[in-house]
Symmetry: C2
Subunit: 112 residues, 2 copies
Amino acid sequence: MNTKQSFGEYIRKLREGQNLPIRKVASKLDIDPSTLGKIERGERSANKEMIPILATLFGIEEKNLGLILFSDKVAYQIIGEENTNEILKVAEKKIQYLKNLNLKQGKINFKN
Amino acid sequence: MNTKQSFGEYIRKLREGQNLPIRKVASKLDIDPSTLGKIERGERSANKEMIPILATLFGIEEKNLGLILFSDKVAYQIIGEENTNEILKVAEKKIQYLKNLNLKQGKINFKN
DNA sequence: TATTTTCAGGACAATAATTGTCCAAATTTA
DNA sequence: TAAATTTGGACAATTATTGTCCTGAAAATA
């Protein structure tokens, strides 16, 4: 897992590796070429529905592509803070706690 | 740091610990009592401007309160995914990379 | 118990953020 | 040079978020 690339950079390299124009990939995704261009440049976010399509197209694991997308989202959300590592650590524990809670009980109530 | 509490639960306990009605704290925050109630119940998000006010009011560290708020946000964003730990780990590396990059260069370009 | 205070939660409007398109200009490729 | 591709701004549409108001329930207090 290369952590030095954003989702956009990543899929751009994949696309260029196959010598595909934006136009064609965008058509597979059923979006405007301009939108895909923006996604590749990080000016728009990809959405989850695009993951399986791109994964199939480029022959990579859906799971990994999703990982790159979501880690980008998380990074983007807190990059402006000072104590990013602490935030992530506490978030991890919170998630563990909540998932565990969820096994025993029913729903999730989490919004902040 | 108690990771078993959301931001809302946390400030609710603080508030109740001082026997303050929602109304009064809400007034300090300059918001409707109903809004604070929702924040405490996790139906609304707190915003950053509230942090210093609440920290002062309850005599706690701004930094810690911010930590609770942001870790909540991160947790909430990815709680629905399977591989949350991996996501956090990759996000951490990405942030390190970006921060380091930022020291050398200028701005941030990150949005996904 | 009656009154008052507090709190919960739905409905709503206002605002903000996100998403995607269209188009024209710039760049790249053939 | 001509054609194809890509960039990026302006824009509209959609969606998400924020906070208020209000009513009724619950809790506290007299």
